[in-house]
Amino acid sequence: MLDQSYYDKTDEIIAEHGSDQASLIPIIQDIQTEYRYLPPELLNYVAGKLGINEAKAYSVATFYENFSFEPKGKYVIKVCDGTACHVRKSIPILERLYSELGLSEEKATTDDMLFTLETVSCLGACGLAPVMTVNDKVYPAMTPDAAAELIRELRGA
């Protein structure tokens, strides 16, 4: 059960966008920005407020890779595995990060809630390949060592 403050915040967000059915996506985007994830309880709550079936809201939220029902870490790392990054060896970077952070394809977030590791299909920065981002800050021309160093820095910060 979520704290009442979550529902109050959600009410605020809904008030901002209006309770039109078309506002579903902007509303849940804002919720995700607020909490770094989309709590399932809030998705159902929003669906109720907007008069959308829970199954339909779930359908929308799962269609977009961006929405996550799991709480994400403080630093969200996205490793690009688009064609350009892939041929310039993004996978070794990803593997190094998995081992540094103790994560895997199934487990995306560290237990201390510091890091979440995801892959994306293209960040649109192919000229800087292989590229990764940490909370939307872009790190170009990465290597496995540089990635490991970055993790150490972030841990220290």
Binding site: P40, N44, N53, E54, A55, K56, A57, Y58, S59, T62, F63, F69
Partner: protein, 568 residues
């Protein structure tokens, strides 16, 4: 009048909704998975593709007919595309047809055969998902889903429930309730309409055939069957009997042959319901409390009201449904007989009541605590029309060849009023007949023409009962019930009596009936039910002599205990 050219033949059309309807009207049965005339057009399966004179290929379900169109439905390119679609569907589909619940009635299987698919070049490497066995009514097997969305649209557009929807995307897409919940954890009412439209085995009926076979083989159990009104106009479907024909006599004979000890008619239970519900309506009209009175015979509706409109729960009649009333009566009779046997130190057999129903929700109804009498279930098992068809086939009996037999006594008589419970508006008509209390044909006609017959979503009527105007509404399908309840909540409309049937057109199109249930089948079944009524000598429930007998006999002093819900 406009015309188009289909396969070099001129075809006229008027206001058809799409090119597909024109093609089908012209006698070409273009295959589809995702097109249903009562649902919105989805255009996903691409089986209905056609080619125009410029070589453009489009889905005929999503194209408005235009004057002078030239189209072809079976060119080599189209044949190639359709085959490829089937092959790709099969590539990600469970291919255990022989053990599938929909074996023989599966559209995917039918079209594979029709389009001559002899080989699937691809291996099925799709991740296997668990089956959802949580519901007492239907089973969902996502591995057999072809993502046509028929169930999604039926649940949302027709029933107004929206339990199922697509989730995820691309190759990971699946149809599921929100957050992959089990159906039992959702507001699913078990109406089974999703199963009725599902073209494959992805949604099927929860089977109770095995325990019934076991009981039939057990000499120490007296197995009693009761047959619901809507079963007799549908059970002939798989035996080549004309759609909508009354096969009650044949079904009775077949049930005896497969071992049922006694066979009765739920229409008799319906007669009891009419008696009790009429009484309740008069009482409520007098006291003015809890109006309107809502009917209680449809378990999917009762569950829907509890889930979504709990404030109206008190308006639902305390009457048990016809199958439960009859079940309680049969069990009471058995208890009395057992008592007599004990006194005369004779061995007595245990009685098991099996209902043959058009409905999947009835399977859940019998396990609800308020439908127990003295701690015992009134009805032990519910078999849908589809399951009883399977049992008759398994026993090697051809229903079309069986000599019809009569129902057993003492409960084997029923009125036409009981028969029409199987269609929308039927319960209302039966209650009105009882309250009007006249069997003159002019009076009966006046009731049937008051506006309660027909297939409209919401029907309204006003009738005069002993000088008082009684306002009536009939909701045909849960989506329409929702619309009606919202209007009532807003205070826009007021009624004294409201009938709700969860399935559109009533039980004849129930979730347990043999599929496919197309518009023509529905029409034939509807006419079949009204024909049974018009042929019945007894039109009013209170004129059924057996009703009088049981009220003076077994039921005396126990009317409330046996015929009404203990908890309400």
């Amino acid at each position: 009048m406009s015309y188009m050219t289909i396969n070099n033949r001129r075809v006229t059309f008027t206001n058809e909704r799409n090119v597909l309807s024109v093609i089908r009207k012209s006698g070409i049965d273009l295959p589809t998975f995702c097109y249903h005339s009562e649902l919105s057009t989805y255009g996903a399966c691409r089986m209905c593709v056609v080619e125009d004179d410029r070589g453009k290929i489009f889905a005929s379900c999503s194209e408005v007919p235009r004057d002078g169109m030239v189209i072809y439905t079976n060119t080599p390119r189209l044949q190639h595309h359709r085959k490829m679609i089937i092959e790709l569907l099969l590539a990600a589909h469970c291919r255990d047809c022989t053990t599938c619940a929909k074996n023989g009635v599966c559209t995917l299987q039918k079209l594979s055969r029709q389009l001559g698919i002899t080989d699937v070049r691809f291996e099925n490497n799709k991740k296997q998902l668990p089956k959802d066995m949580s519901s007492e009514c239907v089973i969902r097997d996502p591995n057999k889903c072809i993502l046509c969305g028929d169930c999604v649209r039926t649940c949302d557009e027709i029933q107004g429930l929206g339990i199922l929807d697509f989730a995820f995307r691309g190759s990971k897409m699946q149809v599921t309730p929100a957050f992959n919940k089990d159906l039992a954890q959702t507001d699913c009412v078990g109406c089974g309409q999703c199963r009725a439209v599902c073209p494959t085995g992805a949604i099927s009926i929860r089977q109770n055939v095995e325990p019934v076979w076991a009981a039939l083989a057990d000499k120490n159990i007296r197995v009693v069957a009761q047959i619901a009104p809507a079963v007799r106009v549908a059970v002939g479907d798989k035996f080549g009997i004309k759609k909508g024909e009354n096969t009650l006599g044949r079904l009775v004979a077949a049930l005896r042959r497969i071992g049922f000890d006694e066979v009765y008619d739920t229409n008799f239970g319906a007669d009891l319901t009419v008696m009790e519900e009429s009484k309740e309506l008069v009482e409520r009209l007098e006291s003015g409390e809890n109006l309107p009175l809502f009917t209680s015979c449809c378990p999917a509706w009762v569950k829907f009201c509890e889930n979504r409109y709990p404030e109206f729960r008190k308006n639902i009649s305390t009457c048990r449904s016809p199958q439960e009333m009859f079940g309680a009566l049969l069990k009471e009779e058995a208890r009395l007989n057992a008592e007599k046997d004990r006194q005369e130190s004779r061995e007595s057999r245990k009685t098991m009541v099996v209902s043959i129903m058009p409905c999947t929700a009835k399977k859940a109804e019998i396990t609800r605590p308020e439908h127990f009498t003295d701690g015992e279930q009134n009805v032990d098992y519910v078999l849908t029309t589809t399951e009883i068809t399977r049992m008759i086939q398994e026993a090697g009996i051809d229903l079309a060849q069986v000599q019809p037999e009569a129902l057993d006594m003492p409960f084997g008589l029923s009125s036409g009023a009981g028969a029409i419970f199987g269609v929308t508006g039927g319960v209302t008509e039966a209650v009105l007949r009882r309250l009007a209390g006249s069997s003159r044909s002019e009076d009966l006609e006046e009731i049937s023409f008051s506006g309660i017959r027909g297939v409209d979503g919401i029907k309204e009527a006003k009738v005069n009962l002993n000088g008082r105007e009684v306002k009536i509404a009939v909701a045909n399908g849960l989506g329409c019930a929702q619309e009606l309840l919202e209007k009532m909540k807003a205070g826009e409309v007021h009624y004294d009596f409201v009938e709700v049937m969860a399935c559109k057109r009533g039980c004849i199109a129930g979730g347990g009936q043999p599929v496919p249930i197309g518009p023509r089948t529905k029409k034939a079944r509807l006419e079949g039910i009204y024909k049974i009524d018009s042929m019945a000598q007894i039109k009013l429930s209170n004129e059924n002599p057996i009703v009088t007998t049981v009220y003076e006999g077994i039921l005396k002093g126990k009317e409330h205990k046996l015929l009404h819900n203990e908890v309400n």
